[in-house]
């Protein structure tokens, strides 16, 4: 367990104390001594995502100090715990918040700016020139707020980010309430705000040091862009400092077959083997992972590398299909991500779950590939493991952080319901998310986002887009 050790321990102590007090007094009914909690959240279906895949009908969870105290039948939870804050669960699913393992949050401002193009045309004619012209701290703030608003609305509670001005993104996330691993991008060529490697590396290291242990929801990390944009010596340099600081590394690996050709010709290795040889014993979150070799699976599993599947982005840019079922079988940690909204074009994890469940069946010709429950786990339990948070999030479980969402089932078109897992993958979409809670704090209730002003964000996004459009018309 890499994070949240302190909270879990506090909670355990609390539990022991409660149990002892009740046992000692003995004479009185337990109800008299119902423990105080901060919040109870209920659901007609509580999809725990625990190891036994248990689903509790008419269930509830009790939350105190941002941590799940107990998951059980609603009747029992209401008897055992007391609070004036109860979010009812009639016609609702309660499940862990979704984990977006790879994104570039502020790219929401480039949502749909250019589509249906070859990757290199898309990058060199649109994304790179616009980034160089427009990416400023103010731009990043608006883009990150827009991303945050979208993630809260669509049920994401934790995400891994790699984008410019990570300290600005971190500030936004502190305010909006999401949990995030925010990594500082590092690249060997000039990029927004930086002249090249030394510049981006030292700024990144400074950011990680500043943000370590600064806020319980923010984990700063390093974001060396990819093996084809960062030379081996620089990758090694990142690996060493990240290890020293126990900080995560987010990196694009084996995204396209073109990348494999480049790395093979430059370093006589495949991208995965090359990256693992430079980043030894590191906490690695490897995005895309479309083209690993089967022979590399054992070393990926042994390295505890997290492979993040980005089905929409990889389909849209025609990069290929990551061998997710095969990697899971090989014991590799696999999560799910949206990539940036410039290549998706949204940050909707329910769409990723559904797309993943469909395309693996299509490509393999096997309708049993990546069944609904596995697809859902990629965004919850498995996703937590892939980013190194398996002991604190991704499940509704005693001692875990209270990161959870409620989805509304009242619409006729969702019915009938034979199997709630199937529905969460193949029927329901993110518009059914009505409640989003992180660390026990309610970020959205009845679809009303509490921590951000949607109207203001929209106006700012439109304003920025207008400037970008004027620039595109001229160039």
């Amino acid at each position: 367990m890499r994070k949240f050790t302190k909270k879990s321990m506090t909670f355990q102590t609390g539990l022991v104390r409660t149990t002892l007090s009740a046992a000692c007094i003995g004479l009185f009914s337990l109800e008299t001594f119902a423990s105080d909690v901060d919040l109870i959240v209920e659901g007609d279906y509580v999809v725990t995502m625990q190891d036994d895949d248990s689903i509790i009908e008419q269930g509830a969870i009790a939350i105190k100090d941002g941590v799940i105290v107990e998951v059980g039948k609603a009747d029992n939870i209401r008897k055992k715990y007391q609070t004036s804050n109860i979010i009812p669960g009639h016609e609702k699913v309660l499940m862990p918040g979704l984990i977006n393992g790879h994104s570039h949050s502020a790219m929401t401002l480039f949502r749909g700016i250019a589509d249906d193009l070859d990757l290199m045309d898309w990058l060199t004619q649109y994304i790179f020139p616009i980034e160089n012209k427009f990416v400023t701290p103010e731009f990043i703030k608006t883009g990150a707020e827009l991303a945050c608003y979208e993630m809260i609305q669509s049920g994401t509670t934790t995400f891994v980010d790699m984008y410019f001005y990570p300290e600005v993104i971190a500030d936004v996330m502190v305010d909006c309430g999401l949990r995030a691993i925010i990594t500082a991008p590092m690249i060997d060529t000039p990029s927004p705000g930086f002249k090249g490697w030394n510049d981006s590396f030292s700024a990144g290291e400074k950011y990680v040091r500043q943000w370590q242990n600064k806020h319980p929801r923010i984990t700063p990390g390093f974001g060396p862009h990819a093996p084809y944009t960062v030379i081996p010596e620089h990758l090694k340099q990142v690996g060493e400092v990240a290890k020293k600081l126990s900080a995560p590394i987010s990196i694009h690996v084996a995204e396209t077959s073109g990348e494999t050709d480049i790395i093979q010709s430059q370093y006589h290795k495949t991208p995965v083997t090359h990256v693992l040889s430079q980043l030894q014993d590191n906490w690695i979150i490897a995005a895309h992972m479309v083209h690993p070799l089967e022979s590399e699976y054992p070393s990926m599993a042994a390295a505890n590398l997290g492979a993040i599947h980005n089905p929409t982005s990889n389909a849209k840019l025609a990069s290929g299909l990551s061998p997710v079922p095969e990697m899971l079988n090989a014991g590799i940690r696999v999560g799910l991500g949206t990539d940036g909204a410039a290549s998706n074009n949204n940050l909707d994890m329910f769409e990723e779950i559904r797309t993943a469940a469909l395309i693996h069946k299509l490509e393999s010709g096997d309708p049993k590939k990546l069944p609904a429950l596995d697809a859902l786990k990629l965004a919850t339990k498995y996703g937590a493991a892939a980013i190194g948070f398996e002991s604190s999030i991704g499940q509704l479980k005693t001692g875990y952080s209270a990161d959870l969402i409620q989805l509304d089932l009242s619409e006729a078109r969702i019915h009938p319901i034979y199997d709630i897992i199937s529905h969460l993958v193949y029927v329901i979409d993110s518009d059914q998310v009505v409640t989003t809670i992180v660390d026990g704090k309610v970020l959205m209730l009845n679809k009303d986002v509490k921590t951000l002003d949607g109207r203001k964000i929209k106006e700012e996004a439109q304003h920025k887009a207008k400037e970008i459009q004027q620039y595109l018309r001229k160039h």
Copy 2:
């Protein structure tokens, strides 16, 4: 043009009359003589889907007697036409209603009953036994109402159906307001309500004759299930009577490679060639069409056959990917469909559009395959042609039926908007549909479905599902 000739002519006469009166009087301002219309619907973006792909910003359409009188700038439309019924378009897209080219509407009651199985296990262990046990006219009524409610909510205005008790489905569609081609299923084996071919064929023929010219929104047709379930003589029999009645034929063709093997071994032909040889000069709506041969494209185009792409169902059941871009290039009419909600598991055409746009890029390795505009056309203009309605629906155009939808753009997470076509495919989903209009009649306004009682339908669906669940537990 197969349908609605009468209406278009009526409208043309009306237009000529209006123009002449205004010209003759001359002295007065045109505004004084603004023509009466029944309804004006506006949009910040009016996506016409006309041949020039025109998008009118701050546009509107005027509607009279269920027909589009004019499409233009909102300012001009408001000056030229008068009505007290105006649906404003601030922060809204106005576009043609979507066309679902293949569905089994009442199967909504089997939504999610069994997933992630081999096709034959899914059919023989779940679908067939449950159909035989539960499909009754009452069951069909509830299932069709649930389907209709979902389609109205998600922006579908026309659909092609093939399911038992088509007369019950037709009755539901008359009441709920959707436009439909409803085909009577015919199969060589016993099926719900029928002993075998003669029984289902004669009931089907009777239904088609009864419903022809009965209601302007309902087109009855024949639904011989598939070449592997209907013998050649029976296919030919359907073709002859359908030709005599100018009725459409909906049929599953070339859905799986297994089907190709069966037809090849039984009749020494591929499914497409076999079907075209039995159904000559027929109005054919061929669902799935996953495995046609390139050599068959010219005869498919020449036959004006409509091929219906069902991307979600074909992915979920691992049937394969229909060669849509290639068929379009060959001049074949191609539409888009959901299939039934038992294999999808919803009737959401926006999901089909997006899934289609993604998976063709993924499978071909070419990010330019099936660009956003083409994907959108499959569900509108191209889809109309595929089902034989190209002269009356699928575009917002003078003289066409007023079948249209409005989508709300007010949510921050939809912004910024650089390209509305890209957004309709890659960002927006069906939950943004707020208005649904068919033949000028408002079926949904501000997300409130006017023609059906969602609460009652939901309760009935839940009740039916409970019975099915009890049966499944016992068997």
